[in-house]
Subunit: 214 residues, 2 copies
């Protein structure tokens, strides 16, 4: 952790931006991430930025914060769009609650762990690595949402959102981000009747399977 | 107001949905709205729904609430996307504030008045028409944002968001909604230096020209 991605960007012969092409191992890390995301970035720098914490920033690469902000708004939009299609007769109140429980920090952090995204984070925070590993281990004890019992490193949720932001910036399509790539893949087992119950905050732990097929 | 749009939906010879085709005047109203929006709806029912208040709902047409929820999230996403492109080095805090002052109720309500959208609202609320007209007249006294002095009928902001939601649902493209149609048309006169000041809440009244060229 903390150094898996190079921030060296060089121009390839075909004018595409590639990162770490001078270091085969680092290029492999980019490819490995792209495989997880099932998406090949035109601009690899976006992918590197999405995994760069502010503590790691230098003059070659900005931190993920802006991409996280963008990804957060895309995620909110895509989820509400999806829920409206699933439950066209539902009123805004329950739909908004349903969205809230589906984009909370722990749920997104679990996505980062499940897909091993946390391994690619670049940071220089002495305690962060240990905190992340504690959360990863604790997830085994709490396979569903812990409902606030676990201490969740926010950075894990952040990199899920920044990755969504980077995907959108690279392909310029919310449809691609939602339908084909990272978010919303797989079947959603939710039914309207149960969704109404799940929208209640105290049922949050029952709903963690929303991202189950990611 | 309150009855300009018919909710009669009939199948045309080419199987497209048309509304009010039995009443030429009402068809003209749909066309007039489409002209304002510079967009021709494939499904006219979405446009009617976007202008239907809950007080007017019958079994033929739902209210605009769901489209408003969708439009709100699209507007938030599109604005943050635009600001990040304009100010790629700005940090999330100021960008979030900048977004907040650009999608507040009064600003959106002014958009509804400026483009005459309020004339197409369908409702059965006895006092609403008078409240809207009061706001329309007051806008002449306060050509810029009143900074909380004016009483703004929320429904005016709602129909701007529901229209954005209807546009998105009809064309399934945020790019179309943002780039070509309703939001973000024209030049934005904002400069980075001034934007920083405008992000401060007390400067909100100086910033109302963001939607000026809509």
């Amino acid at each position: 952790m903390g150094s898996q991605l190079s921030n060296t960007v060089v121009e390839g012969e075909d004018n595409t931006k590639t990162i770490g092409s001078t270091a085969p191992d680092q290029l492999l890390e980019i490819e490995s991430l792209e495989k997880i995301l099932n998406y090949k970035f035109k601009d690899k720098r976006l992918l590197v930025q999405a995994f760069t914490d502010a503590s790691y920033v230098d003059d070659k690469c900005d931190s993920y914060e802006i991409l996280e902000l963008l990804g957060d708004s895309i995620l909110n939009m895509s989820i509400i769009d999806e829920f409206i299609k699933l439950y066209p007769k539902e009123s805004p109140g329950p739909l908004t609650k349903l969205r809230a429980v589906n984009v909370d920090t722990e749920k997104l952090a679990r996505v980062a762990v499940k897909h091993q995204l946390y391994r690619y984070l670049r940071h220089k925070k002495p305690l962060l690595e240990e905190q992340i590993l504690e959360f990863v281990e604790a997830m085994e004890k709490y396979p569903l949402h812990s409902n606030g019992l676990l201490k969740v490193p926010k950075v894990l949720a952040d990199i899920v959102e920044s990755t969504i932001g980077a995907l959108f910036r690279d392909c310029n399509s919310t449809e691609t981000v939602w339908e084909d790539k990272f978010v919303g893949c797989g079947q959603h087992p939710v039914k309207k009747e149960t969704a109404r119950n799940f929208a209640a905050k105290n049922a949050i732990d029952n709903f963690s399977k929303f991202f189950g097929d990611l």
